[in-house]
Symmetry: C2
């Protein structure tokens, strides 16, 4: 686990979008961030207090989190100077960058001298077991998408937040780098070795109280030729009790695959049940989560209603409407 709270490093992020990991942290775990650290020319602002490294330490920060996509695919000299200084002051550093902290000699050296840890959250740090398929106690919910990047992580985070608000027992279980940085731990599933994928998901979602819900972050899609194996392992390792169907209605083809049409929600429902029942005969589809960001304020509710009537399932955009109705469906279990 990455130690919290964080100081969020935005570096010289060109714009707000480049800082979306840091934004995810302040949106979902504001208590995990004491402030933001920005360099000259930074075009992003999370709306939280600016701090120097020294001020971060004084505020209790344990880890400097690189919450930003860097330019040019490498860690610049200007960044490195700050990161080395942070290590010397006692920070750990966590990053989801493609270019790894551990590949930078200066950072490794400074971490070693100071006894600090570099967390490259894209890389597994655990030797996961092979899945044993055994039934665990507690309940699990998984969002499965018609495509990649349709709002599965958001759905899981929103359902977890709603459950916390209601005093229900609930944990969000990250399977990707952004989720891992938001909560401080998880499994970077797309970087796990094939044989151990389902075992990694079992590891991530162990036995728990009978009335506790794990919200497992979904990845890929059973219908996405590039990533369906990862999705498959999430279902068979996660053994979900509840499945939420996730959809983005304006996609014209599968993400990155121009020759592939999106499946219907009906096809996703049927295949999800077939696959889910292999490991849990009682699995249920509990609702539909639709990302309506590209639909207007006038039309999105009609669209949701049409799906709800067609599918016979609670259908919401958790960003616009909250995840309350999805959580209601779980409360009935």
């Amino acid at each position: 686990m990455i130690q919290t709270p964080y100081l969020l490093f935005l570096g010289d992020a060109p714009d707000q979008l480049a800082a979306k990991v840091a934004q995810g942290i302040t949106d979902w775990r504001p208590e995990n961030a004491v402030g933001q650290f920005r360099m000259e020319g930074c075009g992003a602002d999370l709306g939280i207090v600016d701090m120097t490294l020294e001020e971060g330490i004084a505020a209790g920060a344990k880890t400097l989190v690189v919450g930003v996509a860097n330019r040019g695919g490498y860690i610049s000299a200007a960044w490195k100077e700050v990161l080395v200084r942070a290590l010397n002051m006692g920070y750990d550093i966590a990053s989801g960058l493609h270019n790894l902290l551990r590949d930078e000699k200066e950072l490794m050296a400074a971490a070693r001298v100071n006894g600090r840890t570099l967390f490259d959250v894209r890389i597994p740090s655990v030797a996961y077991p092979i899945a044993n398929g055994k039934k665990r106690t507690g309940k699990r919910c998984l969002a499965l998408g018609t495509d990649c990047s349709v709002g599965k992580m958001y759905t899981g985070l929103a359902m977890d937040a709603e459950m916390q608000k209601r005093g229900m027992k609930s944990t969000f279980r990250p399977t990707g780098q952004t989720g891992i940085l938001i909560t401080g731990g998880g499994v970077p599933l797309d970087a796990v070795i094939a044989d151990f994928m389902a075992g990694a998901v079992e590891y991530l979602t162990p036995d728990n109280d009978p009335d506790h819900w794990d919200h497992i972050e979904g990845q890929g899609s059973l219908f996405h030729a590039s990533y369906s194996g990862v999705t498959m392992a999430l279902i068979h390792g996660g053994q979900p009790d509840a499945i939420v169907l996730a959809h983005e209605p304006t996609r014209t083809h599968m993400r990155g695959l121009p020759d592939y049409e999106l499946p219907t929600l009906e096809a996703l429902r049927d295949l999800s049940l077939t696959m889910g029942r292999i490991v849990n005969p009682n699995v249920k589809i509990v609702g539909v989560s639709v990302n309506t960001q590209h639909l207007s304020a006038d039309t999105f509710e009609d669209h949701l209603r049409e799906i709800e009537d067609r599918m016979g399932l609670p259908t919401v955009d958790p960003f616009r409407q909250g995840a309350g109705r999805l959580v209601d469906a779980l409360a009935d279990f």
Copy 2:
């Protein structure tokens, strides 16, 4: 690619079963082996000529293949002495052992001094791409099993051999260590990083002549909770035109998962088609391959006939009956 021909190293294999990788090579690619190298106490015999390392070189061997499971999970001092001597004489070494050749300092040193290569075929040696899902030319056949280890590799090898015999264009495409050692190349799919599994299968089965068949070695099972993600990637990366259903009728539960029943062949057929159609709308189930080794000579044909009548598909045990009828089904394409 591993250079052929091989000298097959059996070491001090306690029995024939321990030498099953070497047996696979002599069964399927006898032209790839000039002879066998056995040490004192070896309990295995492939029925091919015994050779010293010197005789192997004289017979043209390029690679010493460790075709045996070792005792105790490590490479013994006695083995190492032979392997170092082989490197000094100009052999490459190839192995599918869990304990890697490259982790042995003496072997690495001798390989470096002599400019030789150590092939650990469990470990990918290529940075595979992410799958692009594009349709390739040529045809592809994939065996999908009700369970793991039901004869999928054997089925593919037998179909490839039958096609070669008929003068058809055909290549066996290994996805596991045994298959890789048999043919000299392939993808160790269960050791590939999750994001690149389907891309590795695309890489393994590139564009080819329109009348050429790739026989892709199957892995795992869509119904096996531990490995279904790997199977999924084989389907979506392989884009099979033809699927053979593979089954072992005496299993009482899924391999290694005592709480899981085997699916019916009907369930396997339906799910295989659903999954296959996502990447190839024209995919067809062409036959059933049944491993009847645990059925008696009196009863196995009745069993096959019962399945054939039920499924309406050519049903054979390729070991007992040859793969001719499965290849007939492909010749009709």
